[in-house]
């Protein structure tokens, strides 16, 4: 019976409406409780900032494409090195850290949960092998369904029960938590080196449109009562003028009613999808239009995909984008098609503030967060490691908190960017409460993890707690942003499941994390039709036998399974 008492904490817990109150937090057996006995281990926070453990709803931390990045980029693994200690294994890498650094660095920043944003079902075993090796943090993943033959065939034949049965089977097979849709239909087109050009451009050979794929998956997602909404990476990513596709994609789900207390559509790394203009020559930021839509509609959430200047390893199931990136920038190209399911690409890039379109894109992530009034609607992410590595979250946090810091950064960006963005006119500076929303509370809410005890410090929640060496009362983040950034970079204490796992940015314990996944029961004729189709496809088209395909229990050692029912 381990007990802990954190005294004199200045707590920001937005899910419970706690806004900078000085209070004590009691912990027993890994959970937040109302009170503990006198013998509890006591930590005196001394008025310092206390947040729930950070939650990352969109990051690429495990699986085939991350490992392709490591194998392709030994120069990346040669950075960020720390030798092994009595407690920790060696750290390597910056954009593509090894599994150990992956977990340690999150924990050092006070993050305790992270969700891998793209699991191809056929390669899910690999994803879970890496997730299991990532120490400390709790994990989960989103499964790719956007270009899957089983999905497209069911949609073309207008059979939503069969589609739901397949989504349920795919989540089980991949031990996934939610439905990810990347460049819907484009993955199949990329099988022959093509792409889809917009929401109504039919997928070659399958006669369904991206619009139908998004709509059907969003409807089925709610009928399945999944904890998370569909998680969409829009078509035409990185193409000037794509903000129109993005707005039209939002509209597809406008009338879909969420069955849970959350959005009915999450659109990811929207920075890359808010581009105006007709080509890179006249490219401008259209984040104002996107933010305006968000300000007028409540069914939708997004994440920033903030760009961080410097080295990045872009990795995505959007295969055509990566071919374009590699040819445009003469960069290395890793492509990874997955039969019957999806594609992926990995390309290293370097974001320089002296290149105007990178300068504008850097501003765009911030604009989305600052122009959207409701902090719950825009999550802070870098789409690690696409916009940049997650270890730079404190940089992004302080950019949102300080206009002065933004001005300093802008001064280093080429002037060619200045008339293409909105950042210079924005006065808004986020406060401690906003940042708590954008880095933990909203992530947990968007993923449907609040009921699982994530993202807050209410009684019964997981005792995942970050204490930062920052005194909110005495610290003006709009001016002292360097100090704040340093504070967020290395927590004074990170507590995971009631155990101190990091102190002053140094790992002190490496427990194993848990993995969240969803099992949905589909109890109707659609299941039989789905199995007939699935068996046919395995017999004729898959290169793996069906009996060997699904992820076995051995690969998820500490599962947390949420059961839902299809209606």
């Amino acid at each position: 019976m381990s007990e802990m008492l954190i005294k004199n904490a200045t707590v920001y817990d937005p899910i419970n409406g706690v806004n900078g109150d000085l209070m004590d937090i009691a912990v027993k057996d890994g959970k937040i409780v109302d009170s503990v006995g006198n013998s509890a281990q006591t930590i005196d926070a001394g008025g310092r900032l206390v947040y729930p453990g950070g939650v990352d709803a969109h990051t690429h931390i495990a699986g085939s494409k991350v490992n392709v990045g490591r194998i392709m980029r030994p120069e990346d693994s040669r950075t960020g090195i720390k030798p092994r200690t009595a407690i920790t294994r060696p750290y390597t890498g910056y954009t593509v850290p090894n599994v150990y650094a992956m977990g340690y660095r999150y924990a050092e920043m006070g993050y305790t949960t992270a969700f891998e944003a793209a699991i191809p079902i056929m390669k899910a075993r690999h994803t879970h092998e890496e997730l299991e090796e990532i120490p400390i943090i709790d994990k989960g993943g989103l499964t790719l369904f956007g270009s899957n033959w089983m999905v497209m065939d069911a949609i073309r034949e207008d059979d939503q029960d069969r589609l739901a049965a397949y989504v349920a089977w795919g989540l089980l097979a991949s031990r996934g938590w939610g439905v990810k849709v990347v460049n819907p239909g484009g993955g199949e087109a990329w099988g022959f080196g093509k792409n889809v050009s917009g929401l109504d451009d039919p997928v070659p050979n399958f006669e369904v449109t991206p619009r139908q794929i998004i709509r059907n998956l969003a409807e089925v997602n709610e009928k399945m009562n999944l904890p998370h909404s569909i998680h969409l990476h829009c078509n035409n990513l990185g193409v000037p003028g794509n903000y129109e596709t993005t707005l039209a994609s939002f509209d597809i789900c406008k009338d879909i009613k969420s069955r849970r207390d959350r959005q009915s559509l999450h659109v990811t790394h929207v920075m890359f999808n808010s581009l105006g203009g007709n080509h890179w020559g006249d490219f401008v930021s259209k984040t104002d239009v996107i933010a305006d839509y968000l300000n007028k509609n409540d069914f939708l959430t997004i994440d920033m995909g903030q760009m961080i200047f410097g080295s990045a390893t872009t990795m995505t199931a959007d295969g055509p984008v990566q071919y374009r990136n590699s040819t445009t920038f003469k960069a290395r190209w890793g492509n990874g098609d997955v039969e019957l399911e999806d594609v992926s690409g990995v390309t290293p890039l370097y974001y320089s503030p002296q290149v105007y379109f990178y300068g504008v894109m850097w501003a765009m992530g911030l604009e989305l967060a600052l122009l959207t009034k409701d902090p719950w609607k825009v999550l802070l992410t870098t789409d690690h490691p696409n916009g940049g590595p997650y270890e730079n979250y404190p940089e992004a946090m302080t950019l949102l908190m300080s206009k002065k810091k933004r001005e300093e950064a802008i001064a280093k960006i080429t002037e060619k960017a200045y008339d293409r963005w909105h950042i210079t006119g924005i006065e808004r500076e986020l406060d401690w409460y906003d940042i708590a929303i954008k880095t933990r509370a909203a992530h947990a809410k968007v993923l449907g993890l609040v009921e699982q005890g994530k993202g807050h410090l209410g009684t019964g929640a997981d005792a995942d707690i970050a204490i930062y060496d920052i005194k909110p009362d005495e610290t003006d983040a709009t001016i002292e942003y360097d100090k704040v950034k340093a504070g967020f970079r290395r927590s004074a204490y990170t507590i995971k499941g009631g155990e101190v796992v990091a102190r002053d940015g140094t790992i002190t314990a490496t427990p194993k994390g848990r993995t969240f996944w969803v099992r949905t029961t589909v109890d109707n004729d659609g299941y039989g039709r789905m199995m007939d189709d699935l068996k046919f496809k395995f017999r004729n088209y898959y290169s793996v036998n069906m009996g060997n395909y699904m992820v076995q229990n051995e690969y998820v050692e500490h599962p947390v399974v949420l059961e839902t029912e299809y209606q």
Binding site: R70, R73, Y91, H126, R332, W333, G336, N548, E554
Partner: protein, 433 residues
């Protein structure tokens, strides 16, 4: 009892459609496997018990597992530059323990790719790798190239299951849906089954690749009359075939990785395939040998950041092929102890490396007798993975699968032996520090 969906512990095809009949805990029949796979599952020359000897010229004496494990740990813990090599014919679970043991002893971990597809990894560092799963190629590829590889003998079911004779969604006429081109220095049995055999002069693959790239780029004018023994007309014809593909796939083997040019050949081949994507869809994939050599590359990469040849003597991973590969270290006579597991250095390393291995203590973990056994001081037999033990392996295309257990035996697993060695090493190092 017939066990279905059995995975084959032979080559990188990792066929998962075998059926094995087991009676009284004995394998009595194996269905769907190739001859080599069948032979692997049946096994031969099994080592029955742990053995040790002080002098490599003397006879082995049987010892207990504890004795062999403790002595192995003592050698590794006291070594200044131990090499931990092999790993490719084992499961990912034991590879993770191998990386940990290497950290504990400050050694170098390297796998069989070092003398096989290691140069492919260097090619990937240079240019990346546009690739995919074998089913993607099976369903779509209408032009199939084998370059410096001979699957008829090395990957016997490859052409039937994945690449040439099988039917797929867009390749529903099977063999007739595909044009098959073979580049090789000799007319192999694979070449005999091709539509087009292109004979390359030994060591001149790089030039042939460069010529094809020039033609694909529209610069036939810079191509000499013959390149690598092939006429310009022939090269133009082949380039047109490649450009005309809806989906082209290049399978390449050690004819490309281990001939003159080595990793530069792979760089050039990947460049050709990348450039062909301006015309159709094109992919390229190495024909990996051992059934789980791909698994080692993956495990090593996620554990250390690097794909093989990782030196842990600094307390963190250091990778510099040319300096930290097995043969670099053996030929420089740096290695003072060798731990060989699930790979046969004795059969595949050059004489100069073998000479060094003859002078240092060699620990060999393997179910079967091999050339390495002949130069070992300690031999520890273990379970046969995928026959007597379940666990993870990666097919040549990076698809991870779980191998099945068919029969029960009393031998310990590789992982169990490694766990015990790690514990003992910690004990020895703890006592001395």
């Amino acid at each position: 009892m017939i066990i279905k969906d059995v995975l084959c512990p032979f080559c990188g095809c990792l066929c998962d459609d075998l059926a094995v009949k087991v009676e009284n805990n004995k394998v009595v029949d194996i269905m769907h496997a190739c001859k080599i796979g069948e032979s692997k599952i049946r096994g031969h020359d099994r080592i029955k018990a742990p053995m040790m000897r002080d002098n490599k010229n003397s006879e082995f004496r049987e010892v207990s597992y504890d004795e062999a494990i403790n002595e192995s740990a003592r050698i590794l813990a006291n070594s200044r530059r131990p090499l931990l090599y092999g790993w490719a014919s084992g499961l990912c679970e034991m590879m993770k323990k191998g990386v940990l043991l290497t950290e504990e002893v400050g050694g170098i971990i390297d796998n069989t790719a070092s003398v096989c597809h290691g140069p492919s990894a260097l090619g990937v560092h240079e240019k990346g790798l546009p690739t995919g799963t074998l089913g993607q190629f099976a369903n779509r590829a209408d032009v199939v190239v084998f370059w410096g590889c001979n699957p008829v003998h090395a990957h016997p079911r490859h052409m039937g299951r994945y690449s040439v004779f099988n039917k797929g969604f867009f390749t529903n006429k099977g063999r007739r849906s595909r044009k098959v081109v073979v580049f090789d220095v000799r007319k192999t049995d694979t070449a005999n089954l091709a539509d087009e055999y292109v004979q390359v002069n030994p060591g001149e693959d790089y030039m042939v690749l460069s010529a094809l790239r020039a033609i694909v780029a529209g610069r036939v004018d810079v191509v000499p009359d013959t390149v690598g023994g092939i006429s310009r007309e022939k090269l133009v014809e082949v380039a047109e075939t490649l450009k005309g593909a809806k989906f082209g796939i290049v399978y390449f083997g050690m004819g490309l990785t281990q001939s003159r040019g080595k990793y530069k050949n792979i760089d050039n081949a990947v460049s050709l395939v990348t450039e062909l994507n301006a015309h159709g869809k094109h992919s390229i994939i190495p024909m990996r040998g051992h059934y789980n050599v791909t698994g080692f590359g993956n495990v090593c990469a996620w554990e250390t950041g690097f794909v093989n040849a990782v030196d842990m003597s600094r307390g963190y991973p250091y990778y510099n092929p040319g300096e930290t590969c097995s043969n670099d270290l053996l030929m420089r006579e740096e290695i003072d102890a060798a731990f060989i597991i699930a790979g046969d250095a004795g059969a595949h390393f050059p004489a100069q490396s073998i000479a060094r291995m003859g002078k240092v203590p060699v620990i060999n973990i393997d179910p079967f007798h091999s050339a390495t056994t002949e130069m070992a001081n300690i031999v520890i037999p273990t379970k046969v993975s995928g026959v007597e033990l379940e666990g993870t392996a990666y097919r040549m295309d990076g698809v991870s699968l779980r191998m099945r257990k068919l029969v029960d035996v009393d031998f310990p697993s590789d992982e169990e032996v490694l766990d015990k060695i790690i514990a003992k090493v910690r004990e020895i190092k703890g006592a001395s520090s």
